[in-house]
């Protein structure tokens, strides 16, 4: 069932075993193991500071892990770094384009880095521009393009070497929802065309939902690994969210009078229960006037994260950012 035997790692686009990383002043990853199947859209999900970017840097050969190993189609990211670099295409969170160059010039230079030249290079550039609908922008300076278009150029660049695995770090950061949808539609088209495996990090749970499988990170540890649907299905019942001006009173009343376990978040009180509607009716009776609103929902990935890590997804992100 598991993929921990080294000789099996050649079967997987990405195999990570017991990965650890310690920066000078803090521990970023603790004993992380997972593997990615061929052709999967795989998400590395977690709040900021959870270990996503460290994992991304190790997989893209930019950082040598302090423990454990990671491989791309069986090639070690440290020992066989140069071969790994031939297999991966990378999209960074911060722009990796030269804004003083045109779209085509960026792609030309990028191709040269991979040993591509001449007619072959020209064909590939034309092909990438075509597929990403950038052909009429090829002579524009990158500094004149919108954020969404720039991301498409980044993608064109990463795809030029025809990578077996596409690795992306928060690829849609800073894009508006429309541009984000366009981006993921393009990615899905590329995947169907080439069978390429795609691994990306994200702290948007809506993007995590789009993945075939996700690895959920919290404070450097893996707290969940499965398809979003299966992870959600593990939480039986429904989530009832209650709001009012005095949350602590709501919290206390529910515990005392209904004997349920509650979660007091910043702006609401949550209760996980088997039958949401029955519970809501009881809660309305008990709470009376102090209750402003009540809503019932199927568990989301945020609930999965909360249950597995013991704290809020967004709340924790804020705390971690403040520390950094």
């Amino acid at each position: 069932m598991t993929t921990s035997h080294s000789d099996e790692s050649t079967n997987f686009p990405i195999a990570v075993e017991g990965l650890c990383h310690k920066y000078e002043d803090r521990i970023a990853l603790t004993d992380v193991s997972f593997s990615v199947g061929s052709g999967e859209l795989f998400g590395i999900v977690g709040p900021n500071g959870g270990g996503k970017t460290t994992t991304f840097k190790i997989l893209t050969t930019l950082l040598r892990p302090t423990g454990g190993r990671a491989s791309v189609w069986g090639l070690d990211v440290v020992g066989q770094r140069d071969q790994v670099r031939h297999l991966i295409g990378v999209v960074f969170q911060s722009p990796a384009l030269d804004v003083k160059l045109t779209v085509r010039e960026n792609l030309l230079h990028h191709g040269h880095l991979y040993g591509l030249a001449g007619r072959d290079l020209k064909t590939r550039i034309d092909g990438c521009l075509e597929r990403l609908s950038l052909t009429d922008r090829s002579r524009d300076l990158v500094e004149k393009l919108s954020g969404g278009l720039r991301r498409r150029v980044e993608l064109a660049k990463a795809l030029m070497s025809r990578p077996k695995v596409l690795l992306m770090d928060e690829p849609t950061a800073g894009l508006d929802p429309g541009a984000r949808d366009t981006f993921w539609n393009l990615i899905n088209r590329m995947r169907t065309e080439s069978g390429m495996t795609v691994v990306h990090t994200t702290h948007h749970l809506e993007e995590a939902e789009l993945c075939d499988r996700i690895a959920v990170f919290d404070r450097g540890r893996l707290v969940g690994l499965d398809s979003p649907g299966k992870l959600r299905a593990e939480i039986a019942g429904e989530v009832v969210t209650l709001r009012g001006s005095d949350l602590s009173a709501i919290d206390e009343q529910l515990r005392k009078k209904l004997g349920v376990e509650t979660q007091l978040a910043g702006d609401c009180v949550r209760v996980l229960t088997g039958d949401g509607h029955a519970f809501a009716a009881k809660a309305r009776e008990v709470l009376g006037g102090i209750l402003d609103s009540i809503s019932i929902a199927r568990p989301s990935l945020a609930d999965v994260f909360r249950q597995r890590s013991g704290h809020d997804f967004a709340g924790e992100a804020d705390v971690m950012e403040a520390k950094e």
């Binding site: 069932m1 598991t2 993929t3 921990s4 079967n11 997987f12 686009p13 017991g18 920066y23 004993d31 193991s33 997972f34 593997s35 990615v36 199947g37 061929s38 052709g39 999967e40 840097k57 893209t60 050969t61 930019l62 950082l63 040598r64 189609w73 069986g74 090639l75 140069d82 071969q83 670099r85 031939h86 297999l87 990378v90 960074f92 911060s94 722009p95 990796a96 384009l97 030269d98 003083k100 160059l101 010039e105 960026n106 230079h109 990028h110 040269h112 880095l113 991979y114 040993g115 030249a117 660049k157 070497s161 069978g195 499988r213 893996l222 969940g224 690994l225 499965d226 299966k230 593990e234």
Partner: protein, 290 residues
């Protein structure tokens, strides 16, 4: 055996690959193509940011005019018997300053380029690290040399006569100095987190290195400890080599300087060490965190 076996929910295996392992045909790495492409990028960027020409040529020109005119009456070269105006003395120093400024302006961009720019992609491409250092050094070096050649047109105005062999020699020496200074700037920029840090080093180390290279005043007239510092400064030998070349047929003008052979030797070593340092630092970066 498997550390995760005890944690059932974490052992959800990835689906078996439907397709066999892809054939791992690797494209041929072509290091010189990479060097060439990075060199070309430097040129194109420079041409599209014309204000950089003013930065690299303007300030040295202002220095030359101000110091040349200001120190005109008070300067006397202690070892050169003939008439040697400060304009003439300072001119080769101005050339070195152009090389230094070009190197600084070109390498300071590395700090940003590496964190949020084009260099990120270079770092994950299958090209050896030395190509990054060499591409930057050759690109910036050629830009610097083009600028000093332009500046040398005014040399006869300050009293340095045109001489094909000497001037060609001077340009060749300056090309080597440009490589050395760019390599040095590359090392600094690579180890910095911010441009502010680089500015600090520029002010306390790079500009003094130029001031104490014999560009501004001759070592022979300085007090003992100052002369010792100047003789330990590798750039002193670069400046001396340029003076030797410009006065190929008038050795009286270079009296008191280190010999041409020593000057050329130290300058070549300086460039080689700077290149080695620049290549080395790109490797250190991988081992430590970014």
């Amino acid at each position: 055996m498997n550390p995760l076996a005890a944690v059932p929910e974490l052992t959800a295996a990835a689906p078996r690959p439907a397709v066999p392992t892809p054939s791992l045909e690797l494209t041929h790495p072509r290091p010189w193509l990479v060097v060439g492409t990075l060199l070309q990028r430097e040129f194109v960027r420079f041409i599209r940011q014309r204000h950089r020409v003013f930065g690299a040529l303007g300030q040295p020109l202002i220095f030359l005019v101000l110091f040349g005119a200001g120190l005109h009456g008070s300067f006397r070269n202690p070892l050169v018997a003939t008439e040697h105006t400060y304009f003439e003395y300072f001119f080769p120093g101005t050339l070195i300053l152009i090389l230094l400024f070009t190197a600084i302006f070109a390498t300071i961009s590395i700090i940003e380029d590496r964190r949020e720019g084009f260099l990120q992609s270079v770092l994950v491409a299958p090209a050896p690290r030395w190509t990054i250092a060499l591409g930057k050094m050759l690109g910036t070096g050629s830009l610097a040399v083009s600028q000093v050649i332009l500046f040398m047109i005014i040399a006869p105005l300050v009293g340095i006569p045109f001489d094909l062999l000497g001037w060609a020699g001077a340009v060749a020496v300056m090309a080597v100095i440009a490589l050395a200074l760019t390599g040095l700037g590359f090392m600094l920029a690579w180890s910095m987190d911010s441009a502010q840090g680089y500015h600090a080093i520029m002010n306390v180390a790079l500009i003094p290195m130029w001031l104490l290279s014999g560009a501004f005043f001759p070592a022979s007239g300085a007090t003992g400890w100052m002369r010792a510092i100047m003789l330990g400064n590798p750039l002193t030998y670069g400046t001396a080599a340029v003076r030797h070349m410009l006065y190929l047929h008038n050795p009286a003008m270079t009296a008191g300087l280190p010999s041409l052979a020593v000057s050329l030797g130290v300058t070549a070593l300086f460039a080689a060490a700077a290149f080695a340092g620049a290549v080395w630092i790109t490797g250190v970066h991988f081992k430590k965190h970014q």
